[in-house]
Structure formats: structure tokens, C-alpha cells
Symmetry: C2
Subunit: 343 residues, 2 copies
DNA sequence: TGTTAGCACTCGTCTTAGTGGAGTGCTAAC
DNA sequence: GTTAGCACTCCACTAAGACGAGTGCTAACA
């Protein structure tokens, strides 16, 4: 059996109604739908078919129907196609004077949560294949030197090193020049053993410092350790009865608090490359605790190979339509903000 | 009427039992207590007195008694006196190789939450009256300079400035020397208008850069904006039936997620200077949403005027004994860790 | 052949009444 | 001053019943 025009309309009506009410929807409710003009009995027949096809299901006999994961999936896929061009507007995010991306991201998570009434997460961008831009050593006190590493995209890392033998400013200057001239513009993969060996020879008696500096460099460019995940609106789960019983809510909120588990969502790289938006419904999610939820993730791209992920977690009866539009808008905005700060 | 020895013993027994079970405790339960040897009837009489005195109360007729805020308060005050010298041991916090205080604090919040089964929060240290140690300007690209400000306690701030007219390295060097010689060792209060005016005169045509740099300095030393609060174990609220109904739990967890409201706890500076530990019971708390909870805060002090706050939020029937011991131990540990990293 | 009205049936939810038990306060005796 | 005993209170739990939303099926209609 195929999904004809009418069945699709009915399915859509069921899903939409369920999204609003959160309760199983019956045939009479759907029969009142304007552009159908069918009696409840007819609807019942069609619903029975839709159930056989696996798009909807009954929580128990004599209850209405609710969409199955398969039903949601169809709905979402269909919708993504329709929405693909259109990008709606949401209010400009309030950006405080701080030009720090971190704060903006935190704010974005908050705004998103407030707007959608779902739980949200956002990661700091990951600097894949980022190049070194600048290294600076300075003598802070007699036995401490400060290492500052700037990578492409103005990612800055500091490290304080303890040193054994005294260094004078002139030596530091020389080391600075040496380091910058040897390493400038290289990616982490390009700094290999031979580069390092050459560096050490040139550094002479200060080769141990080179080691420490390289550690700092590695730390600065290495993303793994440094990826932060900001979350907001975890308590929104309480707004949806199907998720708000103690046990489920506790699990979900814990997951959000822990953050580590959320990394799984980030790392699942988007198969849906075209739009960068990925929807996981129910069991499709890589995070087990979210099996009763739907998760929508979007990848934002700031150029220079910097990418981050935004995610929204809510009940399966999520307003997919709005969520996807909002995410798209946000991605565009992040892009703007970033490039405005840049120039 | 005064609290005689026997009443005090009974009150303690009631509170202890209630701390464990979380349910109103009746006279028979207490009568079984070893070192009392009284019948339930006698206990009932005493309990009636204790109720008149306001130390315990009945949720409803024919239920057992639970401690009132006043009862908890007496219990806690008494206990703090007893525990004042003793500092117990808990397992060493796992410190990863990172020598960053931030990570340690996050970890500390987690360990504390896991250990106590309450929700915990910890603030990054606030750098009051911190002195400037070092300023470094460097040319990163043609129109960007990097400002690095190091304050006492090795707090490092970075800022990227955009510049209009080209600067050569020599000018930068001069500015560096100028800035460091004028500002080194000063606190934020000591950098006043006359200092700034003098600086600008000396900087000549580059006085606008001085402005930007001073902004960065202010930002680096200013604590307000920069105080981070890490939280952990917010879902522990679910473990205590009296806090776990949707509404209360949601409010509490929101408060923890928001973090802003938590600042109120931090800012209430400890009246109890001697130990640095402060206990708020029920309505005593400055945060309204926690009126059904108890809050224990401790101030840790890393020297150099750097202080932070650790807090634990749980049900009123909190294991005050353990919490206070644990907090004390943690404070000592933070101190150790910090000074080990320092030297 | 597709659509519809009608009806019996199912099953979850809400309400109500009833029961059991934990705990108290009071009184009288030791 | 302490204790045993008893009547009383009130919550928590359970079972039974009423209600209603929704279904599936059948028969009639266009």
C-alpha cells in the first residue's frame, strides 16, 4: 500500500494535532479538520491503514493514535525539503559589548532555549587543521616565562613555564624570532619530528624550552580537550508530561549536566551534508538516555575550518518546523557576528 | 523552660533519625534509642514540650515530629563547635595533568557532589585588590595587536586590538616598556586619572592605544564579569522526596542552571569569619527558591587576596556533620593544590 | 465501490468509600 | 516523675464503580 494524497493529509493532521496537545488524537478530532471533509468513520478506516503501515500507533486499545518514530521521520524529511530555501527571521540576539565568542555562544544557547522551550546545547568551534599564527615568549619573573600562542581564528592560549637557569631578555627575543620563523603558518600535522629536531639544534642550550613551548602549542591547537559545551533550558523537559516523571527527567537533566555524553551528538558528523541539519528521532539518537526524545543538531561553520554544533533536545512531538527554521537563522547570525568581530 | 540534658538528647535523636529516614519520627522510635531508656509515653511528653519550644513540629495531627528550622539551627550550631578542630580525610582529588585551576574547580564540584549526594557549586577565585604583574603587546598581523595582561596569581587575560595606523615593532617595544614601568605592581584602585594622564602624554601619538590597553587591564583585574560558577549534582535533588516533585525540582535545577541567582549566595560574605563556613537553614537563605533547602557555604582562600566560595545545597535534613567535615577538608586540599602548582 | 451512521465494546482515568496503621494526647496507676 | 493503656485522628492505600473517549464492525446509502 502506498501513501496517497489523502492518507498523507490525515497523517499530517494527526502529527500536527499531537504536537500541540501531546495527547493521543482520535478520529473525530481529525474529521473536524477543514480541508478534509470526511466523517470520523472514514478517518478511522484510514487510520487503521496508517497503523498497518507503521506510521502511527495506539498506546492501548481504545486510545487515539500517536505518531510512531517512522511517522515523525516521514514528516520531518518532508518538511526539511519544503523549508530548505526559506529562512525566517528571529529577533537579533542581544550582544553585549564583549567580543568574546564564548559569551555569544552561551547567550545563543539561552536565547534558543527560551525561544523554543526545549533544552539546547552549543559547542565552541573546533579548530580543525588550524594554523599557527604567532608565538610569544616573555619573561614574567626570574623563574617564570609566559608563552602565548595565537592560532588562526584568534584562538589564544597561555601557559606559564618554570625555568631553571636564568634567561635574559635578549635570549628570549632570539627564541621568539626562532620559533616564529620556524613554525609560523604550520598546522599541527606539519610540525613533525624533523621540524622539531631542527628547531632544537638551533635553540642550542635552550632546547628544553623548545619542548615546553611545543607542548603549549600542541595544547593550543589540539581541540579535543578544549571543546566546551554550553547548555541551557534543561528544565524545559518538565514542560512535557511524557518526559517529566522523576526518573526520565532526572536522567535527561543529568545528561545535560554531565556534558560528556553530549559529545556523542557532536561527533556524529552530519550525513546530511547539504543543510548541515540532522534530526534524530527516538531510538535513532546516539545518546541512550534520549531515546524518548528527538534531537536536532546543526553544524555552524565560521570558515577557516572552524565548525561547531548546535543541538536541541525535546520531546518527539517537537515543533520540527519552528526548530529547523530557528536553527537555520541562528547559523546565519553566528556567521554574521563572527565575521563582524573579525574585521 | 530550658533545654535540659534529656530534652537535648531527645531532640538530637529526633533530628538524627529524621536525617536518615526523611520521614516524621514518632515517640516509639525514639524510645528504642539505647542511651535513653524511656518509654514512648515519656518521650511523648518531652516531645510535646519540644514542640512548644519550637524545635520540632508536626506536619499534621497524628504524624510524628520533624525538626523545625530552629531545631536544625541549634543542632548545627552545636555541631560546628564540636567539629571545629577535627578535619577528616577524603580521597585525594584526581588531578589530571592540566595545571589549570578551572579544571580543578570543576572537578572539585563533581567530587563533592558525588561524595555528599547534594547539589554543589564552586566559584572561581575572585581577585580582589590584585596587582598587575606584566603587560605585553605584540604585533600579530598588520592591523591587529595582541595584549596580554598578567596579574598576580598568574591570572592571564588576552585581548586582540584592531589598529588603524601601522605600527612597527620598535614602537611596540617602546610601548611595552612604558606600560610595564608605569603600571607594574599597581592595583586597579591605584591606576587613577593622574597615572593615566601621565601615561598618555608619554605615549604621544599612540595614546589611543593606551586607552584600549587600559580597558584590557581593567577587564583582567575586574572580577565581577569574570566570576564563573561551576555546579554539579543538580539532579541529586531527585533523591529527596521532599524536594523531588516536579515543581520544586524544576525551580531548584533552574536556579542551578541559571547560576546568576547563585551569586547571591556567594556575595553574602561570611559573618562566621573564624571558620569561613556558613549554614543557611530554610528561610534564612538569600535565594528564595531554596527556602525548603539548607545551604552550606565555605570560603576558600588561596592567599594574595584570592577567595572563592564553595556551596552545597540539599534538603534541610542534610547530613550537616559530614558536609562540614568534607568542606573543611576540601578547603585544605585546594590550598595545597594551588600552592603546589605555584611553586 | 467508497462513504457514512450507529452501536457495542474496551480500557484508562477519576471519584468515592472503606480499611489499616502509625502516632498522638490524655488519664490513671505505680 | 514515669509508665501502661485506650480512644481518637488522620494519612496512605485499595477496591469498586462511573464516566467517557475512542475504536472496530456492520449495515445502509449514493
Amino acid at each position: 500500500m502506498q501513501l496517497d494524497e489523502r492518507k498523507w493529509k490525515i497523517l499530517k493532521a494527526i502529527i500536527k494535532t499531537y504536537l500541540e496537545t501531546g495527547e493521543p488524537v482520535g478520529s473525530r478530532t481529525i474529521s473536524k479538520y477543514a480541508d478534509l471533509n470526511l466523517s470520523s468513520a472514514t478517518i478511522r478506516n484510514e487510520m487503521s491503514d496508517l497503523e498497518d503501515l507503521g506510521y502511527i500507533l495506539q498506546p492501548h486499545t481504545s486510545a487515539g493514535r500517536i505518531p510512531s518514530d517512522k511517522g515523525y521521520r516521514l514528516y520531518v524529511d518532508q518538511m526539511m525539503e519544503e523549508k530548505d530555501k526559506e529562512v525566517t527571521e528571529i529577533k537579533e540576539i542581544m550582544i553585549q559589548k564583549q567580543d568574546k565568542m564564548d559569551l555569544i555562544l552561551k547567550e545563543a544557547a539561552k536565547v534558543l532555549a527560551a525561544n523554543t522551550n526545549y533544552a539546547t546545547m552549543i559547542t565552541t568551534p573546533q579548530y580543525r587543521r588550524t594554523k599557527l599564527k604567532f608565538i610569544q615568549l616573555s619573561l614574567v619573573s626570574e623563574e617564570q616565562i609566559l608563552v602565548v600562542v595565537v592560532a588562526e581564528g584568534n584562538v589564544i592560549k597561555n601557559k606559564i613555564l618554570r625555568i631553571v637557569h636564568n634567561l635574559d631578555n635578549e635570549t628570549i627575543l632570539k627564541l621568539n624570532i626562532l620559533l616564529n620563523s620556524s613554525l609560523d603558518g604550520l598546522t599541527i600535522e606539519e610540525i613533525n619530528l624533523s621540524t622539531i629536531a631542527r628547531l632544537k639544534v638551533q635553540a642550542g642550550i635552550h632546547s628544553e624550552i623548545v619542548n615546553s613551548v611545543l607542548d603549549a602549542v600542541a595544547e593550543a591547537i589540539q581541540m579535543e580537550e578544549d571543546i566546551e559545551i554550553y547548555t541551557s533550558g534543561a528544565t524545559n523537559f518538565f514542560k512535557y508530561p511524557e518526559l517529566s516523571d522523576s526518573e526520565k527527567a532526572s536522567e535527561l537533566i543529568s545528561t545535560f549536566e554531565e556534558k560528556k555524553q553530549l559529545a556523542a551528538l557532536v561527533n556524529e558528523r552530519n550525513e546530511r551534508q547539504e543543510t548541515g541539519i540532522q534530526v534524530y528521532i527516538g531510538n535513532e539518537t546516539p545518546v541512550q538516555t534520549m531515546k524518548d526524545c528527538s534531537v536536532v543538531t546543526a553544524t555552524y561553520d565560521l570558515g577557516d575550518g572552524m565548525q561547531g554544533t548546535i543541538g536541541i533536545v525535546g520531546p518527539k512531538r517537537m515543533d520540527y518546523d519552528k526548530v529547523i527554521s530557528t536553527l537555520k537563522t541562528l547559523m546565519v547570525q553566528l556567521d554574521h557576528i563572527y565575521h563582524r568581530n573579525e574585521s
